[in-house]
Amino acid sequence: MAIKEFFIVLLGAAACIANAEAADADLPKFTFDGFGSLGASHSSMKSGDYVLDSSIPKGSALSEEWSFGNDTRIAVHLAADLTSKVSAVLQVVSEYHTPNTYEPEVEWANVKYAFTPDAYIRIGRIALPTFLNSDNRDVGYTYVWVHPPLELYRQLPISHSDGVDAMYRFQIGNAVNTVKAILYGENTLERENSTSTSKDMWGIFDTTEYGSTTAHIGYQERLAASENNQTGITGPWIRNSDLSVGVQYDPGDWFAISEWIQRKSTTKITAMYISGGYRVNKFTPYMTYSQNSAGSFLPGFPPPSANSIRLANRSQSAVSLGVRWDFMKNTDFKFQYDLVKLSDSSNGFLANVPAGVTLYGAKFHVVTAVVDFIF
């Protein structure tokens, strides 16, 4: 659905529901917030570009020495409380993406109907809560790293779905349990050479918070097809399923977090990371290990093409050391060093590697410095 039509539907829905309810004295109430990051990274690997995901067309160090593409963005967030039960949000993000632009995109735009403070249904463009930090991964200020670990987070390039979701939160003793369900969703993702479309998306996600511990488990399914932008040929619809698990322990002075995902489409892939850090006044030094497996082809599909095999083989691991410094109100500075190792049979997730160049088993270094802010 085109963004313009989408908004007309959204505003229409909001107006209908808003009219149907008695007005509160303080409502409607509008709030405006924003966030951003300015980050530069440099890689020692000259034969390819170190990019966070496939929507970023170029990076360091084949195309440029230093790149701002991975960790630079600015976003505005408009929220409207229309009645005590009906609210709407609009979040627009400008970040580097295909084809070579910072053109703003609508990340969320939805209307919420809250039955109680602990139960709602939303319609519109909605965050996908696949991982512990997937729905806030653009907001650098909310986490310790320069960006969430690449090897896991790029396994799911989709950050939102256009559709309907619902949430129900309840207390069990001292624990808070939150269930979210994607009831229906679709998504279109433009890459440099292809456009990936997802439909018939559904999922269920459960998060339990008990004391300093947060545990998250999610399962989602969608039908996905990829269209080749040059030939215009669209591949078959493939059922994708993702099972994700995450655990975080954060008593205040230190934290540990680990997440894992198993993706199934024509291949099966697993990815994980484990990270921990210690908070010393305004400084949080941390360390992360992350890796993904190569995809193993599942039975029941036609023999894969050479390109499918190349894509499925992509596997790498990284050890990262970094520090977050909360040097002023609502602003942080982060520095991170990554030692990346490509698998013995792939060029990992390096982009723009010239045809025929193999970097199998190569190791390289990446340094990244970021300032994150909220306003």
Binding site: F35, H77, A79, N110, P117, Y141, G211, K329, N330, I374
Partner: protein, 136 residues
Amino acid sequence: MISTLLLAVSIFASSAFADVVVIVSAKSTITHLTTEQTAKIFLGKASSFPDDRDAVPFDQAVGSAIRDEFYTKVAHKSSPQVSAYWAKVIFTGDGRPPEILESNAAVRKAVANNTHAIGYIEKSAVDKSVRVVLDP
């Protein structure tokens, strides 16, 4: 020498921290809350008191000593951690932080007048209009 140093440390510690207490209206039926129950209400993870009545929290100014002490003692979060927490909630559209009132007197007044309200103030600012439910 060591005892002088300890004395200096303890004086520093007591002056750096105000003495925060959590209050509800004197007309409220709530008599006691745990740090966990209080943290959940102020972080938006619980919308009601343990007796299921709606809870309306009032915060104090960002950067104030009383606010920093409250979140350190009750939620084990520093000021930047609380800001980062709310950024995550706001930018995923899941909620809004509590309303901020600018002084102990303003919080006390708002809490005294509303049996659903909960706030935190300096212990020395407590009067008969409110009841202390937690002294963390």
